[in-house]
């Protein structure tokens, strides 16, 4: 029986992609990068650059992005409207972080 990965959705342990993170933006990016690589793609060694086109280059499917949205809402305690789930906001790690930060500032 495979474990249900959803049970670990809130955890960020084991993410070490940005050891020099000094500000909130790079922290958000590191959490999102870790979730995509470890939970969604199950490719722990994948190094995703902040500006890589996640959807266009086929790293994330649309359905996986919906999963990511649920995670972000839970982890950061923010609300993301489905209409905001678009290429502008979810095209890159940097744009996702910008969206989350704008929510945290509200």
């Amino acid at each position: 029986m495979l474990p249900n990965k959803g049970a670990q959705a809130g955890s960020t342990e084991g993410i070490t992609n940005s050891p020099k993170a000094t500000n909130r933006s790079s922290e958000v990016i590191s959490v999102v990068r870790g979730y995509i690589a470890r939970d969604l793609l199950q490719r722990i060694d994948l190094k995703l650059n902040d500006t890589v086109r996640l959807i266009e280059e086929g790293f994330l499917t649309s359905l996986q992005t919906v999963d990511l949205v649920m995670f972000l809402q839970h982890h950061f305690q923010v609300e993301i409207d489905p209409e905001e789930v678009n290429e502008d906001n979810f095209g890159t790690l940097a744009s996702i972080a910008a969206l989350v930060e704008s929510k945290l500032d509200e």
Partner: protein, 537 residues
């Protein structure tokens, strides 16, 4: 009374629709300034489409393209990918759409398998690749990389503006191969299905007839062009002079934005598309999509709960449930007024087509009996490229024709099990090779999936059988849960047991984050069976 504009366009003499090029030619006559394509917010007219397709066709011919040569199109869905399809068709070549998500290994297989002679591709996708040798490559976007395997490398943008010396007519006729569509089967590497111009044109005629398409339609293109169902939105819109809207992405916000912004009238989807659209249920309830005239589903049965939600949220929209397989494009559709018959109902034969339900002895089944769906009509494709054995297994002589015409009259044996009710409506039962035989019962995976989808916590479900010494086969389910939901396999089994007899309840349940899909978005049951079934059967 019809409005004058319609009368006048109807009275015009149209070219006989022999090839894909003739569909475009007619629309250039009737709706030259109409918008053909909306890409990244910009509209392109049919006049522009005709002009650029002619320029590109001319370039391909100047580069030595011969009638029947295969041309690979490995582009993101965009304006140029539409021009490329029509240009290759016009030039007399055979277009081979390659899913832009495919990587080097799979692209290599397709190009080598059908002997691609020229390639039209995104520059960025070709960086550092080693693909089979081609005569010429036309690159879209800056920085055409040097390609050791391509004799010539040119910029697509220049070919589109190129003043051609070649005539704009086409050398193709309707029996010529127009496209090869690669599709994944249950075994082996993708196989190419050969479609003639006649197949494509007949498909566009049939579909635009029952969907009642006109030049007023604006259809959102969410499915890839390398999928026959996705290509159909393009051919039908070109035929009627309507508009094809290319969305920015398939993310829920972008789909909804396109539907609203471009006042889309038609949307064709596979089941995962409805999952994405329904993320917006609150917005849809608040502000209904009043322009959306129809939606169509094919490529898998839509879960009953989604169908109900779509009917509620889109009360003015006609819902067409359809059935087809790439070997014969489209077989049946359910008229929207019959949609209450439920998601398993696939309706009746499309126009100009015979659909039979045939038992193992080759006789037509009585109502209620389960048999194989057999298709006869003008969309029956030519067979599998380079695979005569498989072609003969699927494309067989018409069993109901007199002996004198039987051999010449090829029909498609679908491998899908269906049954017909007393009124003549067809119901999907399952893939013949996926039917589960457990405890002496014949169980279709779809029936168990429907049962699982009736549990609110379940997001996606796929079911198959694995060998069991006692039961013959036992039912295995792979499911993902909706976020925020918690449910253990024991609870799922308990909920199933409350609603169904024990032989329909999965013995084994795997919980996954997401149920794997094929490149065209269908649940990949054969991959699941391969990965999770302990005893193959």
């Amino acid at each position: 009374m019809l409005p004058w504009s319609k009368v006048s366009s109807m009275s015009k003499i149209r070219y006989p629709e022999f090839t894909v090029y003739h569909l475009l030619l007619n629309t250039l006559d009737s709706n030259r300034d109409g918008i053909a394509i909306v890409d990244a917010g910009r509209g392109y007219s049919y006049a522009e489409l005709g002009k650029q397709a002619s320029s590109l066709a001319g370039t391909l011919l100047e580069q030595g393209l011969r009638r029947g040569d295969r041309v690979g199109i490995y582009l993101e869905k965009c304006w140029e990918s539409v021009v490329a399809i029509l240009a290759v068709a016009q030039s007399g070549g055979v277009f081979v759409n390659i899913n832009p998500l495919l990587k080097e290994g799979q692209v290599h297989h397709i190009m080598a398998n059908c002997g691609v002679r020229m390639l039209i591709a995104d520059s960025a996708k070709l960086q550092g690749t080693s693909l089979p040798a081609v005569e010429a490559t036309l690159c879209r976007g800056a920085d055409c990389p040097p390609l050791s395997w391509s004799r010539k490398v040119m910029a697509l943008s220049e070919a589109l503006e190129h003043a051609t010396r070649h005539p704009t007519a086409t050398s193709a006729m309707e029996n010529d191969l127009a496209t090869i569509i690669y599709t994944s089967g249950s075994t082996g590497r993708p196989k190419g299905i050969m479609w003639t111009h006649h197949n494509l044109v007949a498909g566009a005629q049939i579909v635009s007839t029952y969907l009642e398409n006109s030049c007023e339609d604006r259809v959102l293109s969410v499915l890839p062009f390398n999928f026959d169902y996705g290509l159909s939105q393009l051919t039908t819109m070109v035929r009627v002079g309507g508009t094809l809207v290319l969305p920015r992405s398939l993310l829920p916000g972008d789909i909804l934005h396109s539907l609203r912004q471009d006042a889309v009238t038609g949307l064709a989807g596979v089941p995962p598309v409805w999952t994405l659209l329904l993320q917006n249920r609150r917005s849809l309830a608040r502000q209904p999509l009043t322009h959306l005239r129809y939606i169509t589903n094919s490529g898998g049965m839509i879960p009953g709960t989604y169908l109900e939600q779509l009917r509620q949220l889109l009360p003015q929209t006609k819902i067409y449930l359809m059935y087809g397989l790439t070997e014969a494009f489209r077989s049946t559709y359910l008229p929207p007024e019959e949609v209450h018959r439920g998601p398993a109902c696939i309706g009746r034969a499309i126009p100009n087509t015979d659909i039979w339900v045939v038992d193992e002895e080759g006789r037509e089944c009585a109502p209620g009996e389960v048999g194989e769906l057999v298709h006869r009509g003008p969309t029956v494709a030519m067979g599998y490229w380079g695979d005569e054995e498989k072609t003969q297994a699927v494309y067989r002589p018409n069993p109901f024709a007199p002996p004198e015409t039987r051999e010449a009259d090829k029909v498609v044996y679908s491998g899908d099990l269906v049954k017909r009710d007393e009124e003549g409506f067809l119901y999907f039962v399952g893939r013949r090779d996926e039917l589960i035989k457990t405890e002496g019962y014949r169980v279709s995976p779809q029936e168990v999936e429907e049962l699982l989808y009736s549990i609110p916590a379940i997001h996606e479900a796929a079911v198959f059988g694995e060998k069991d010494p006692l039961l013959g086969q036992r039912i295995v389910a792979v499911v993902s849960l909706k976020n925020g939901s918690h449910c253990v396999p024991e609870e799922i089994r308990e909920l199933c047991s409350q609603k169904a007899p024990h032989y329909l309840v999965p013995r084994v349940i795997h919980l996954l984050r997401e149920v794997p899909k094929t490149a065209t978005g269908k649940i990949d049951r054969s991959r699941l069976r391969h990965e999770y079934a302990k005893g193959q059967d």
